[in-house]
């Protein structure tokens, strides 16, 4: 199962790598031919994408390494580092390009061969949405947040290339209209600003979630509910549960809590209860490790005080 998951992740990173190489080549050629700032922003994003794909390839291999003496909880967090890195670099690009675009709005530059820009955008859109579809499929199968982040990146890049493509159509329409021709040179820097703004919002969200996960965020609400189901199902087999703690590390989830059991029961019975809870939680939540610690009751309930039998003994 683990090997299969690793396979899905490696497949996704390889697809991402090859698509990014293709995108960088196409956009570089288009930039030289068209001299467009919007393509430059788009190329910047793909260049970051390519760098992240290479890092992601090695991160996936590292994240799948089993826990060892140096990293007792495994290497899952490297996936969040990868996400955070991608988000921070994309925000940096967006800010830098916004300033350049603002200066170009004040002194617009000439655009050559806009139809090449349009056709290159069309190819980029196809590569991005096709890549995003496949990467999301692999992310679902592997449950990897880093691969999902890569899918988000691809989809976003697809929207950005669509906007760039539309901007070239507008440029050609404006240029051929006597009334709108003076506005045509402003379309390219305006598009670059729009793309930068679009880039910032999901990148900020990605940065936020990855930083939270690096700070040991709890598991999401659905998984919290799944933890409570076995605790409810076997409620009459333990006295209390406490100190429930959960944390996410890459696609792996760690859950631990304590159950109080009657002190009269044999150790083996207590162990059976703890194991049963662990097993059922692990079955319900994929990729999780559960540790249930047991402790004896303090004999402080009303039944014991009144010399009645313990309600949990049978």
């Amino acid at each position: 199962m683990v090997a299969k998951r690793e396979q899905y992740m490696i497949r996704a990173t390889l697809v991402s790598l090859f698509c990014n190489i293709a995108l960088v080549v196409i956009k570089s050629a288009a930039l030289v031919a068209v001299n467009s700032l919007a393509i430059a922003v788009d190329l910047g994003i793909s260049f970051v994408g390519l760098t992240v794909s290479i890092i992601l390839y090695y991160s996936v291999k590292l994240a799948n390494k089993p826990a060892d003496i140096f990293h007792n909880f495994g290497y899952g967090k490297v996936e969040h580092v990868c996400e955070a890195l991608e988000a921070v670099v994309l925000i940096g690009i967006a800010i830098a390009m916004s300033f350049t675009a603002a200066s170009h709005l004040l002194s617009p530059r000439h655009i050559d061969l806009p139809w090449i820009g349009f056709f290159s955008s069309l190819i980029n859109v196809t590569i991005n949405f096709g890549g995003a579809y496949y990467i999301f499929k692999m992310a679902k199968k592997s449950g990897s947040p880093a691969i999902r982040a890569e899918g988000i990146h691809y989809r976003m890049e697809g929207y950005i290339s669509s906007i760039v493509g539309v901007s070239f159509v507008l440029f050609m329409l404006f240029r051929n209209s006597a009334a709108l021709a003076p506005l045509a040179p402003y379309i390219d820097p305006a598009t670059a600003i729009l793309v930068s703004i679009i880039l910032v919002v999901p990148s900020y969200k990605l940065a936020r979630s990855s930083f939270f996960n690096l700070l040991d965020a709890s598991v999401e609400e659905d998984s919290q509910m799944e933890i409570l189901k076995p605790l409810t199902k076997h409620i009459n087999e333990y006295c209390e549960f406490k100190n429930l703690r959960t944390r996410v590390s890459g696609r792996k989830k760690f859950i631990d809590f304590k159950v109080t059991v009657p002190e009269e029961i044999p150790f083996i019975r207590g162990h059976e209860i703890a194991t049963l809870l662990e097993k059922e939680i692990m079955q319900a939540i994929p990729n999780c490790e559960v540790a249930v610690m047991m402790e004896p009751c303090k004999r402080d309930c009303e039944a014991i005080k009144d010399n009645k039998p313990c309600p949990y003994l049978y």
């Binding site: 919290q224 409570l228 409810t232 209390e240 549960f241």
Partner: protein, 110 residues
């Protein structure tokens, strides 16, 4: 005495007493922000003189896992102190969530 709800908490309590039974009506959301208020309230009632605590959740819009955790803890404390906690009424959404987790039979009078 129950303290003021925490900032950001979306829960309000109203209490009615009948002999050794306390009817506690909750209104709002039992989520991460308000679950500690509910836990405190239940703790206060379970350590008091009441033999039975009846919860009315008909005006509770939502209950999160944190809220369910509080209910499980309250159930366990009621067993420990030989008291009873019941849920008499609840909104459709809350019922669906409690049924999904399987907690509802623990709080039924039957």
């Amino acid at each position: 005495m129950h303290k003021q709800p925490r900032p950001g908490s979306h829960i309000a309590f109203s209490e009615k007493t009948k002999g050794t039974t306390c009817l506690l009506e909750l209104e709002g959301k039992i989520d991460d922000m308000s679950s500690e208020d509910v836990e405190e309230k239940m703790e206060q009632l379970l350590s008091g003189e009441f033999k039975k605590i009846v919860l009315d959740l008909s005006r509770v819009e939502y209950i999160s896992s944190a809220g369910i955790r509080v209910l499980i803890i309250a159930y366990k404390k009621s067993i420990k102190s030989e008291k009873k906690v019941l849920i008499e009424q609840m909104s459709g959404r809350v019922r669906a969530i409690l049924e999904t987790v399987g907690i509802l039979p623990l709080f039924s009078a039957k």
